[in-house]
Symmetry: C2
């Protein structure tokens, strides 16, 4: 079925098909109703929701919605010749992938807020969108209400993106903020976040970094026009961040944030792509982004540093982004054969191996308080030519054998990860050193 | 002359007419050359600069540009039937107004970075743009490289804007930052800013708040779709901020920023619109925006608080915004009879009188160290039912008559400005009190 919006007259009412009435879908429907007049006046386009696909049409809902709009089969939205734009908010990857693909193949523009499906199938779906000339909008998939996607596509379009660094998972940022401000251990901060509704019952993807990684993949595909998939990104979560690291970070002038880092290395034409808890200098704006808030710092060759801050999740902020895309989709429906969606793939960028990535580091050893321990560690750094910029230490505890343990911290100048890895590997055998040293990268934001 | 872009075929090369080769114009031309391939690939539109209007075509320039492109008459750009889009970067208001008006009347989309002309003639020009269906783009007129205009027009379109608060003058922010961090008095901080190129030889408009006020007017016209002009805004500059106020602000948990405040009062359907040095709580992100950087906080009814941070001025950041608009203009040239520019005027909003505006305040009196002075002041606050939340004081100096002077600070709970004004007026006659009390509004960001 070939679908041609260009045959419609301006002034027609555009028909929307909404798939999904979960949290975000409900927020979208409510907001479309609540601010309808404002939207029509601003966008100067008349529109209506024609059908809403849900899992169970008989389920009790808080939402006031005409039951005649509901269908349990999303295919009805794609097959309905009157529906101009599909809004995919069903979540998950299997059905969402099928729906987006079917809609694009039918020539119907798609708005989605689904990061998981784009992280996994984005390369294929963006390509399909490009080939079909049918736009795929995804502002709500990265950073909730923060207008990062449209800004990269439009206002910042003349910039080579040098790097993107961001805090794009609200749950983990809420937990890290509690650890910093209240001295809570990880487990307690997580439980409190769950009790307050800032973390889900199963918070795995927020805690282990994969939610942030999905968004990072989408941002990188967008900024560099390169296909990517989840295999390409190095991901570490916040599960192993300890209270003592916050104390030591603070003393050294840093705080700890779960950072997404996307950096283009022009010389190698390769992308550095990683998510991990990192040291952020206290005077950098990202260090001040607390609680459930998100922020994304973009460095462009022309604009310099820009930072976008706001609510990265939640019903209404995400609905705001979805509706921004719906209006853009409606505006672009007035075009034919052209869209402002994804830039075409020019080439596939290579990914820099983690071993080759260069940052300064914070390395904390838990060591027995005995003569020669510091010397042994320092000698190993020297052997691999890894340069120490500062050290600090703090007492930890006395164990059941009466042995005193200390935390020993080495701040290390920028070097390739592989070199530090060799140092740590060689020190693993040392009986005076706990076998799990703690390493954080330090993001300087200087390059 | 009626100009119809719709007759052109997709794939044609769009022709740009650039008026002005000052700092920003040069940045635009250089960037269009430098990132041309990137732009064509991303925008999928072929374009060229056909003519460049300058004051003096014989002037020596650092810029490499074919002299055949230059003309000394901007009318040539408007009259050239091949030129599709006009970029106005000549500055000033008189010629810029004529140029923009002529271009819109000729049906040619205009991109401008000129805040002065929009603050003064925006109401008329936006109306003309709307009537003609010819877009007027102005991202670069507010906040340099920060994509605030397009974000309000697109991603955030479903939001009723509750308030906008921002630091949108880099020079004054640089000066206030030096006063805060280095304890410099105003005059010294200004001179240093001039020596370093962060303030112009004549910095009047940056210092007296009018540059920020121009931008505030544009943002308010955009966010509320209402005509405005410079008479409508209350403007106070930073000339009278003293070092002692930074010391006291810090002690009380605040810093001082030149803030633009735009707030919609739904009950009265009126706009609060003002620019003035204000107390900002130290833990708010705006308090951390230092040096020449700008930041704009937008509260929407759906998205909540969003903050946009970046370089608010300078050749390249501003060029980035101009080119973002050029690409949008080129994309929208592919449309006919429709544009994403300014929302149509629905009504003219009333402006709230300053007397009616409500915030907490910081009030500093310079007083003689004598019995009864505090009592006299406190009694006057009580008389007008103005509630004091905290006080602090600091010794100032001993004058030539041997009289000791102190600074006496009263932190005042939120009340209408008119009530505090009465208190201050009644205290003017008191010989123990310096006749110029210092008042700062405190922005709480809570409503």
């Amino acid at each position: 079925m070939e679908y041609n919006l260009a045959t419609r007259m301006i002034g027609d009412t555009l028909q929307l098909g909404l798939a999904g009435l979960g949290t975000v879908g409900t927020g979208v429907y409510e907001t479309l109703c609540r601010n309808y007049e404002l939207l029509e006046a601003r966008a100067q386009i008349s529109f209506a929701v024609k059908k809403v696909a849900v899992n169970n049409i008989h389920r009790e809902r808080d939402l006031k919605i005409d039951p005649a709009l509901l269908t349990s089969d999303w295919r009805e939205l794609v097959d309905d010749a009157d529906i101009d734009i599909i809004i995919e908010l069903i979540g998950g990857t299997t059905e969402a992938y099928k729906l987006i693909k079917a809609a694009l193949e039918a020539g119907k523009p798609v708005v989605t807020g689904n990061k998981a499906v784009l992280a996994e199938y984005g390369s294929e779906l963006f390509k399909l969108s490009s080939e079909k000339g049918t736009p795929l909008y995804f502002e709500a998939s990265c950073g909730g209400g923060i207008p990062i996607v449209q800004s990269l596509q439009n206002s910042l379009i003349c910039n080579k993106v040098e790097s993107i660094a961001g805090i794009i998972n609200g749950t983990s940022n809420y937990i890290l903020t509690s650890m910093k401000d209240k001295g809570m251990p990880f487990r307690e901060a997580l439980e409190q976040a769950q009790a307050l509704g800032f973390a889900e019952a199963d918070p795995s993807f927020d805690i282990n970094g994969w939610d942030a990684a999905h968004k990072a993949l989408i941002l990188a595909m967008l900024a560099y026009g390169t296909p990517l998939n989840p295999d390409k990104i190095a991901v570490y979560g916040i599960e192993r961040v300890e209270s003592v690291d916050f104390v030591l970070a603070d003393r050294l002038g840093y705080t700890i944030k779960l950072l997404v880092v996307i950096k283009h290395h022009a010389q190698q034409d390769a992308l550095e792509l990683r998510v991990q808890p990192s040291f952020v200098p206290k005077d950098h704006l990202l260090a001040k982004v607390d609680g459930v808030f998100n922020a994304i710092a973009v460095k462009g060759d022309i604009v310099g540093e820009s930072i976008f801050y706001g609510r990265g999740a939640g019903k209404n902020p995400t609905a705001s982004a979805v509706i921004g895309d719906i209006v853009l989709a409606m505006r672009e429906c007035r075009l034919s054969g052209y869209h402002t969606g994804f830039q075409p793939y020019t080439k596939e960028l290579s990914i820099m191996p983690m071993n080759e990535t260069v940052t300064p580091y914070y390395v904390r050893f838990r060591v027995q308080d005995r003569p020669g321990v510091i010397a042994a560690i320092a000698a190993m750094f020297a052997k691999y030519d890894v340069d120490i910029s500062a050290t600090t230490s703090t007492n930890e505890s006395v164990d059941s054998n009466g042995v005193r343990w200390n935390h020993l911290v080495f701040m290390v100048h920028a070097c390739k990860w592989v070199r530090l890895k060799y140092v740590l590997r060689e020190l693993t055998g040392n009986e005076n050193i706990d076998r799990h040293p703690v390493v954080f990268r330090i993001e300087t934001f200087n390059d």
